[in-house]
């Protein structure tokens, strides 16, 4: 053997060569192969079946060309693996015919185009791409990936540096594990990591990746990088503000609830609302919100909520009555508004509710106190006026008479002056008694009772019997049998007595005198009217002073100017009012308005 054939050397050499090689004869019998050549590979192409696949055709064409001594190739595309192989054929010996087949893993031009496209879109989305070819050992970073890592133009990444960007510790260990796992099991990875850029900046990234296999062997690693620093920080901020909202929602003293737009069912509510209604969240959820309103308001509220959703109402705001689980009606300040989803469709209704029952009660109490204080103040002013005027008129008379007496010698005259002094003294005593009556008009709510009016009229008539007989005066009691009035018994007696005796006192002697009492209930008030056919009062002249203190309108010896003042004071203190209609020569009607019953429901408070 003079010379060893080239083919013979090759047959030997490829056994040790890196790469995927095989030498076959014309009949596709394997003569020699490299270590990486998959023994079963050829059968994929050469198995003769009825209908040959495209690939088998390609193989056959290329192989036949090679037999003719022409170098040829075909490309096998395995899209499901995203891998392409180029099979090169060349004849290394014509006789016996030996063909060298080489399998090359392609860095695919198609994919580069894809990558370019991706780069464009990824630039917008700031998604970087990377690929590691474990066959060539080459690592590829897209522009965005480089930007995220803040590496200089001339930076050449490798597998170690790639990992070393991950922040030391948990992050680096986690990515190493994920990649390791991916290489071993094929499981893709997807996680958020912190990396330290080339410039030393801490950046949050979302890293995804996977390993690709060829014949059970990892041939590529590829993945994406996305800078999520902003998103992460935004998320942290969002979480924080969500937490703050949650805390506010949960712990606010104002009742918060979220209700659905269809049917207004309660979705969520906070503690304050649960306490207000007196039920736990579990019992409240899915209840219809409008059912919490007092029955007479529920329907109106339902309609208002419909309007709110239709956008006919921008918000619901106001004070309304809610009913808690014990049936107690609460006065609540309610504010409701709609939350819209991104498509501007009503999503939920958020409602804020505050129980202001106590507040309202307090404010009503204050109003009442102001009213009472104002009344008392008026009485005090009147009182001061009487002290100033009426007491002084008597004391000045006394002073004057005493002055006379000092000088007076005439015995008869002295007698007269002493007599007057006595009168003045009596009048002073009388006035002091009146003033005492005026200031003692004061009550507590608890003194009031529900009284049967008809009985009181009867009793008053009885106590005036003597006067009535003398004056031939008739009282007609037309008060309904069971009609009640909420009043202080002593005051009601005093008021009736005073009005009746006024009617008798100022009766018209030319007529057959009478008075009639009628009463009815109007809007929670008992309205009593006392009419007579007496002298009447000139309303034009005295109308504004009729209930004034020490005002008298008739030349009558018994007129003290105190009665109607006292009557009005007593009625006002009981929370009522008195009005008068009169015509000289025809008669007078007093109309008294008092509460029918204890409307506050809190007698004794």
């Amino acid at each position: 053997m003079a010379a060893v054939k080239t083919s013979q050397i090759l047959i030997e050499a490829i056994r040790e060569m890196p790469g995927v090689f095989a030498i076959v004869d014309k009949e596709l019998a394997l003569i020699s192969k490299s270590k990486e050549w998959d023994a079963g590979l050829l059968s994929n192409f050469s198995t003769v079946t009825e209908d040959m696949t495209k690939l088998q055709l390609k193989f056959k064409t290329a192989f036949e060309k090679a037999i003719q001594g022409e170098n040829s190739y075909f490309i096998q595309n395995i899209p499901q693996k995203q891998v392409r192989y180029k099979y090169k054929f060349s004849r290394i010996d014509p006789e016996p015919c030996l063909i060298l087949i080489q399998q090359v893993l392609l860095t695919r031009p198609q994919d580069y185009r894809k990558e370019l496209l991706l780069q464009e879109t990824n630039k917008v989305a700031e998604i970087g791409f990377w690929e590691y070819n474990s066959v060539t050992g080459k690592i590829y970073w897209s522009e965005v990936t480089r930007k995220i890592h803040e590496v200089p133009e001339d930076f050449v990444p490798n597998l170690e540096t790639g990992v070393s960007f991950y922040k030391e510790g948990e992050n680096r260990e986690r990515i190493s594990r994920a990649v390791q796992n991916g290489v071993e099991t094929g499981e893709p990875w997807n996680g958020d990591y912190t990396i330290i850029t080339h410039k030393g900046r801490e950046v949050h990234v979302n890293a995804r990746g996977k390993a690709e296999f060829e014949n059970g062997k990892c041939v590529r690693l590829l993945g994406t990088f996305q800078d999520i620093t902003e998103r992460t920080e935004r998320n942290i901020r969002l979480k924080k503000s969500e937490e703050q909202f949650r805390l506010a929602f949960e712990n606010s003293p104002i009742g918060f609830l979220i209700i659905s737009v269809d049917g207004f069912h309660l979705l969520r509510c906070n503690r304050a609302f649960q306490n207000l209604i007196g039920l736990g969240e579990k019992e409240l959820v899915n209840k219809k919100f409008t059912d919490f309103f007092a029955p007479e308001e529920a329907n109106r509220y339902y309609l208002n909520f419909l309007k709110l959703i239709d956008g006919k109402l921008a918000e619901i705001r106001g004070e309304h009555f809610l009913r808690n689980t014990n049936g107690v009606i609460l006065t609540c300040s309610v504010f409701a508004s709609v939350i819209y989803d991104p498509d501007a469709k009503p999503k939920e209704i958020i409602v804020q509710i505050q129980d202001v029952t106590e507040l309202r009660r307090k404010s009503q109490e204050i109003d009442r106190f102001v009213e009472v204080t104002t009344e008392q103040n008026t009485r005090l002013i009147n009182f001061a006026h009487i002290v100033s005027h009426n007491l002084r008129s008597h004391t000045s008379n006394i002073a004057m008479l005493l002055n006379f007496l000092k000088e007076e010698k005439d015995l008869d005259e002295r007698e007269l002056q002493l007599d007057m002094l006595n009168q003045a003294s009596d009048m002073l005593t009388e006035t002091i008694k009146h003033l005492n009556e005026v200031v003692s008009v004061d009550i507590d709510i608890k003194d009031k009772e529900e009284l049967v009016l008809k009985d009181f009229v009867k009793n008053t008539e009885r106590s005036l019997r003597g006067l009535l007989v003398n004056a031939n005066f008739k009282i007609y009691n037309y008060v309904p049998e069971d009609l009640k009035v909420y009043a202080v018994p002593a005051y009601l007696e005093s008021v009736l007595l005073n009005l009746f005796s006024n009617s008798i006192k100022y009766r018209d002697p030319r007529k057959k005198s009478w008075l009639q009492v009628t009463a009815e209930t109007v809007n929670g008030y008992t309205v009593i009217s006392v009419s007579d056919n007496g002298l009447g009062i000139n309303m034009e002249r005295y109308g504004d002073r009729i209930f004034g203190l020490y005002k008298t309108f008739h030349e009558h010896s018994e007129a003290r100017g105190l009665g109607l003042y006292m009557t009005q004071s007593q009625i006002q203190v009981m929370g009522g009012s008195i009005d008068v209609k009169s015509k000289v020569g025809e008669g007078t009607t007093f109309i008294i308005k008092l509460h029918e019953k204890d409307k506050t429901g809190m007698s004794g408070r």
């Binding site: 005027h389 009426n390 008379n397 006379f404 008298t552 030349e555």
Partner: protein, 134 residues
Amino acid sequence: MKKIKLACLVDDDPIVVFGLKKMMKLVKFCENFLVYSNGQEALNALTAIFKTGDEIPDLILLDLNMPVMDGWEFLEAFTKYDPPKKITIYILTSSIDPRDQERALQFSSVSNYVVKPVTLEQLEAIRDTFSDED
């Protein structure tokens, strides 16, 4: 020197009327006087006097707090009349309320406001200011 010929006293309190009459005599306040127990009486009498041409009082001493028609009403009503001769009005009252005094002096016909009890000196002073006029 001009003396008060006729004075008019309007007061419902008989003790005041008694006292004033007595003191008026003492200081020779006037030659004659008329007494009315409230504003209405006084107004009725005075308007009658204006009509009949009887002697018109030079001076009215007017109490404020009276039944039927009080001093205020009398003043309101009286200012509507145009008496044939000037009548001076003095308010005599027990009220020391400054608001009453202020209100009284707003009437142009009111010359002064005297708080009771009226003393002889005060009556003399009124008499004298009266005589000093013209």
